[in-house]
């Protein structure tokens, strides 16, 4: 499987959201795309995943949608189905017979052993994202796109989920789309800061992800990234 590249302008109609993109997502490992809210990050995620969106990226040929596993902030859980059925729904929609034993094992790995028959309404936000993660693992696609999956969670739950995702998706090709510098620094091997005039690659600490949140190196990198992000969005606000 070859790497994903996007170059050119991300447009919404005639307006360019991000111009001069030049991003290469290598296979294996986590790449973070860090950008402020409203920039068009979710449009980018949808383009990569082959979902309908009014945004366009010049010359971008999206990979086969069946090779992409998308985990969004929403989780896309079926409210009427149990956790177990929610894990297998992707496969069932594709016409494949479900493997409940495997689904159970994955639910256990995300820490939801014993909750297989619970419905989403009875689960906490963090638990619902765990189900979504278990589904991503069940579908076992080659490329995983995480579109701000943990932004709606409280800080502690977010950290726990980040660690869990880092552990379970280790070694896969993961595109992490986020607005949180801390998240990018903790989890990614490579990162780009997205802004209106392109994508700037940034250096990350040498520690192997998931990086220790209390490590001074991590905190310094986080601060630098935050500054980069702030100045990038300031520059695009008209004087």
């Amino acid at each position: 499987m070859s790497q994903i590249t996007f170059q050119g302008d991300l447009r919404l109609g005639a307006r360019a959201l991000i111009s001069g993109l030049d991003v290469t997502i290598p296979t294996q490992g986590w790449t973070a795309l860090l950008g402020a809210s409203g920039l068009g990050k979710t449009s980018l995620a949808r383009l990569i995943a082959g979902l309908p969106t009014p945004a366009r990226l010049d010359g971008f040929i999206p990979p086969d949608p069946m090779t992409i596993g998308l985990m969004s902030q929403d989780g896309q859980l079926l409210p009427w189905a149990t956790a177990l059925d929610n894990v297998t729904i992707g496969a069932r929609l594709a016409g494949k017979p479900p493997d409940p034993a495997r689904a159970r094992e994955l639910l256990s790995r995300v820490g939801l052993a014993g909750r297989e028959n619970t419905r989403p309404a009875a689960l906490s936000a963090g638990q619902r994202q765990r189900v979504a993660l278990a589904r991503v693992l069940y579908d076992d696609r080659a490329i995983i796109v995480l579109d701000e999956p943990f932004s709606a969670l409280d800080v502690l739950t977010r950290q726990r989920m980040q660690d869990l995702a880092a552990k379970l998706l280790k070694g896969r090709t993961v595109i992490l789309i986020t607005h949180d510098p801390a998240e990018a620094v903790r989890l990614a091997e490579r990162a780009y800061v997205l802004h209106e005039r392109g994508a700037t690659p940034v250096a990350l600490p040498p520690e192997i992800p998931p990086r220790d949140a209390t490590n001074p190196e991590t905190l310094t990198a986080q601060a630098a990234l935050l500054q980069r992000l702030a100045s990038a969005s300031e520059a695009s606000i008209p004087a």
């Binding site: 995943a49 082959g50 979902l51 309908p52 949608p65 069946m66 992409i68 596993g69 998308l70 969004s72 929403d74 989780g75 896309q76 079926l78 409210p79 009427w80 189905a81 729904i89 992707g90 496969a91 069932r92 929609l93 594709a94 016409g95 419905r119 309404a121 009875a122 579908d139």
Partner: protein, 246 residues
């Protein structure tokens, strides 16, 4: 729960007491407005014919409802699955819904006679539109994240219907069913008023014609209880389905 029941019963008894008081004190003749005691007496002494006619009407209602359900569900599914069917049938549905069904009662009686068939068809007509339209609406309104899920999974239209659209449409379907069940008893009664030889509506008209107002009131009360029971049954079913979401 029991507190609410107690209050309902209390309200009911108060209304009955006031009604009886009004009739007694104002000395209203029985054939104009019978008091609750007279109505209760009529209910009891006519219980056999009331039961028989209610059963007849209820049976026709059930058949009409079943027919309306089957046709309504089929229509909704067809429209959801086929773009062509949608384009062709949608304007027809909108136009047909504009025609007041109750105004068709005389025509139906003319075509289908005084018997059960005209009533069954009336109920079917009156229940068909709310069910078809509500279910179709529910099937089409799949939340965006679930539409995305269908696309991400490469789901066929059929599988998306079975696994996503149908379960998602259940609340909408029940809204339609609740509405249908509100109109169905009306359809039966009006159909029987226009022309019938049997049934609760027919009995009401007969009693009225003979000046047997207590019996007419008794029929009315039976009708009200029946309609309420039907509505509550559907509501309970809908609520049970709702609870399966949590």
């Amino acid at each position: 729960m029991t507190n609410r029941l107690f209050r309902t019963v209390l309200t009911l008894l108060t209304v009955l007491a006031l009604w009886q008081a009004l009739v007694t004190l104002a000395e209203i003749p029985r054939f104009i407005l019978p008091g609750p005691l007279d109505v209760a007496e009529a209910l009891w002494s006519n219980r056999a014919i009331l039961a028989e006619n209610t059963a007849f009407s209820a049976l026709n209602l059930a058949q009409g409802l079943a027919l309306g359900l089957v046709l309504g569900i089929e229509t909704a599914l067809l429209l959801a699955l086929s773009d062509r069917a949608r384009r062709a049938l949608r304007p027809v549905l909108v136009f047909a819904q504009a025609v007041p069904v109750f105004a068709l009662a005389p025509v139906l009686t003319l075509w289908l006679g005084f018997g059960a068939l005209s009533k069954i068809v009336m109920v079917a007509l009156v229940t068909y539109f709310p069910i078809a339209s509500a279910l179709f609406d529910g099937l089409m309104r799949l939340p965006q994240p679930l539409e995305d899920l269908a696309r991400q999974s490469g789901a066929s239209r059929w599988r998306s219907l079975i696994y996503l659209r149908l379960p998602n449409a259940k609340p909408a379907f029940f809204s339609g069913l609740r509405l249908a069940v509100t109109y169905a008893p009306l359809a039966i009664i009006i159909g029987e008023w226009v022309g019938a030889s049997k049934g609760l509506g027919h009995l009401m008209l007969l009693a009225n014609g003979r000046g047997q107002t207590p019996l007419m009131f008794a029929s009315l009360i039976v009708l009200a209880i029946f309609s309420l029971a039907l509505w509550l049954a559907v509501d309970a079913l809908a609520r049970r389905e709702d609870r399966s979401l949590s």
